[in-house]
């Protein structure tokens, strides 16, 4: 079974971003970038499937600027076998990304695509579901456990009220939730080895996919700031304030 794992380059999860001066976007210049945390979990799961003998090859894919190759190298250092980079400086919406992933999946004949459930920059939570729709494949979103049994996947999903378990035939799409696994750290020898692993660079034009403009970002603004609160010195004072000032209890 070949596994395809799309990964995204995003601003590091611990960085607090700021909106730029002309309110057109968030300022990402000179910020620390990283693999989207959910994508990292997806890579880890694919590598574990390979280590368990369920997967024969793990291919990582990133669609984005040239610098996305750094994240692909990181994924290779974590244990992926080879990487594909589709270079574009355009900010693609999830539907366009899903169409490109689908094209790669067709080309590679991958049986399983594992994605993160959402990217922490655009917070869309769409790409995996859209890929499943385009490829007419079953989907298991927000996965916290994946078991492979011949041509069948058993996936436990995190849903609003608790957990849900599904069985799906392959090929299938799985999106990883935080609790799927604990990603490993790349060791130095593996980082060195990753530099020699194959990385194929393509452009969207290499695929027979028509991408459309779907949306127009009119402006990006900072959210309303909460005014500073007060520190209370005791539980009595807290209860008194909640009762008489805030009137919430």
């Amino acid at each position: 079974m070949k596994v395809l794992v799309p990964v995204k380059r995003v601003v590091d999860a611990n960085v607090k971003v700021r909106v730029n001066a002309d309110n057109t976007s968030v300022d990402t210049a000179n910020l620390k970038m990283a693999i989207n945390p959910f994508c990292e979990i997806a890579v880890e799961e694919a590598v574990r499937l390979k280590e368990a003998g369920s997967a024969s090859e793990v291919v990582v894919l990133s669609i984005g600027p040239k610098a996305s190759q750094e994240q692909l190298r990181t994924a290779l250092a974590l244990g992926a076998d080879r990487a594909i980079h589709i270079e574009t400086d355009e900010d693609l919406v999830p539907l366009s990304v899903a169409k490109l992933i689908h094209a790669v999946q067709q080309k590679e004949q991958a049986d399983l695509v594992i994605l993160g459930k959402q990217s922490i920059d655009s917070d869309n939570n769409q790409t995996g579901q859209m890929l499943a729709a385009i490829g007419k494949m079953p989907q298991a979103t927000f996965a916290s456990e994946v078991k492979v049994d011949a041509n069948q996947l058993t996936v436990t999903r995190e849903v609003d009220g608790g957990l849900q378990t599904l069985m799906l035939p392959l090929p299938a799409v799985v999106t990883a939730d935080l609790r799927l696994n604990e990603p490993r750290y790349a060791k130095l020898p593996n980082i060195m080895k990753a530099k020699r692993k194959p990385l194929e660079s393509l452009t969207p034009a290499d695929f027979d996919v028509t991408l459309k403009a779907h949306q127009n970002v009119i402006k990006v603004t900072p959210p309303a700031q909460r005014s500073a609160g007060v520190m209370v010195s005791s539980v009595e004072e807290l209860v008194e304030k909640l009762k008489n000032e805030a009137k919430v209890i």
Binding site: A13, N14, K16, V17, V19, V26, V93, P94, L95, A98, Q118, D121, D123, N125, Q126, T127, Q129, M130, L131, A132, A133, I134, Q139, T141, F142, S144, R157, E158, D160, G161, G162, L163, T165, L166, M167, L168, D177, L178, R179, H214, Q215, N216, I218, K219, V220, T221, P222, P223, R226, G229, V230, M231, V232, V235, E236, V239, L242, A246, V248, I249
Partner: protein
């Protein structure tokens, strides 16, 4: 053109989220129809008919729809959506699972977690864990979007919509195995007026009993930070944050939670935020209306006593 709202229900009852999504539909303006897909979901349909401002309730009832699996219901929604300009669902785990699949089948992009309607094609949505708000104009002929229910007030239940029965039927594509839902007498996290949340500092699941008592005393729900869920103190469906539930109660009490960016993303729109933490430098104090620097193991029992 009209607006289609996908109802959220567990067959037996309609979720309050649906009434909030209808409110978003009213802000867009136009005839609103609610689509109920399920099996033996008559009671959910009755509740949907009572939602204020709803024109028709469309019902697709079949055994294959029982668990609301995306593969088994997306085709029906896509077919029904042909007659609508807007297709809306709550940004719950259900809505997030299904609607992007529908959007892709319609060959349009989706707008996720809409919090404000600017016009019938322009909407505001948070990005970067709520640290920026993007005003986005959809260029697609159909606007498919999930709605952050905490940003809208539920519509009244004084309506009397007409019923339209649909007759689509599809073969199941995926097998549902089982589900284990967290049983609770407390109000649902998403709609609770008061939420008491605990973090890593609680130390173990037994200590959460203290917060449960506090939540019960205030008639509220229990929440948690990712650290508390990962440590196994509470089940994952209690997680509040960027990747858990987004809540905006009247009162949010954060106990032993430092206030990481990802947690704040899920609760910083609460009306009143109270933080109890022994670290005066904890970022949670920067968003708290009332902060108490104290050991939670002393403060919470005192709080319980005084309420």
């Amino acid at each position: 053109m009209a607006i289609l709202v996908l109802a959220e229900h567990d067959n037996a009852s309609l979720k309050l989220d649906t009434a909030k999504v209808v409110a978003c539909g009213q802000a867009i303006g136009g005839d609103i129809d609610v689509l109920v897909i399920g099996h033996n979901c008559g009671d959910a349909v009755k509740s949907a008919q009572q939602l204020n401002g709803v024109r028709n309730v469309l019902i697709a009832d079949a055994a294959v729809y029982a668990n609301g699996l995306a593969e088994n219901i997306a085709d029906v929604i896509t077919e029904v959506a042909a007659d609508y300009e807007h297709v809306l669902a709550a940004a719950s785990s259900h809505g997030k699972d299904i609607l992007p699949r529908v959007a892709a089948l319609l060959d349009v992009n989706q707008l996720s977690e809409v919090i404000e309607v600017v016009s019938n094609d322009t909407f505001v949505r948070p990005i970067y864990a709520g640290n920026a708000l993007a005003t986005v104009q959809s260029l697609d002929d159909k606007k498919v979007m999930t709605v952050r229910s905490s940003a809208f007030d539920a519509v009244a239940t004084d309506g009397n919509a007409d019923l339209v029965t649909l007759s689509q039927e599809v073969a199941p594509q995926v097998e549902f195995v089982s589900q284990s839902l967290t049983e609770s007498e407390r109000p649902e996290l998403g709609s609770a007026g008061v939420i008491v949340s605990g973090g890593r500092a609680l130390g173990n699941s037994e200590n959460f009993t203290m917060l449960e008592q506090l939540a019960d005393k205030l008639g509220g729900a229990l929440g948690a930070s990712r650290a508390a869920v990962d440590a196994g103190y509470v089940p994952n469906d209690l997680q509040v944050g960027q990747t858990g539930k987004i809540v905006a109660p009247d009162l949010y009490i954060a106990v032993g939670i430092s206030g990481a960016i990802q947690h704040l993303a899920g609760m910083k729109d609460s009306k009143v935020i109270v933080a109890i933490n022994k670290d005066p430098e904890a970022p949670i104090f920067q968003v708290a209306d009332y902060g108490l620097e104290a050991d939670l193991f002393e403060a919470v029992p005192q709080l319980l006593e005084q309420l």
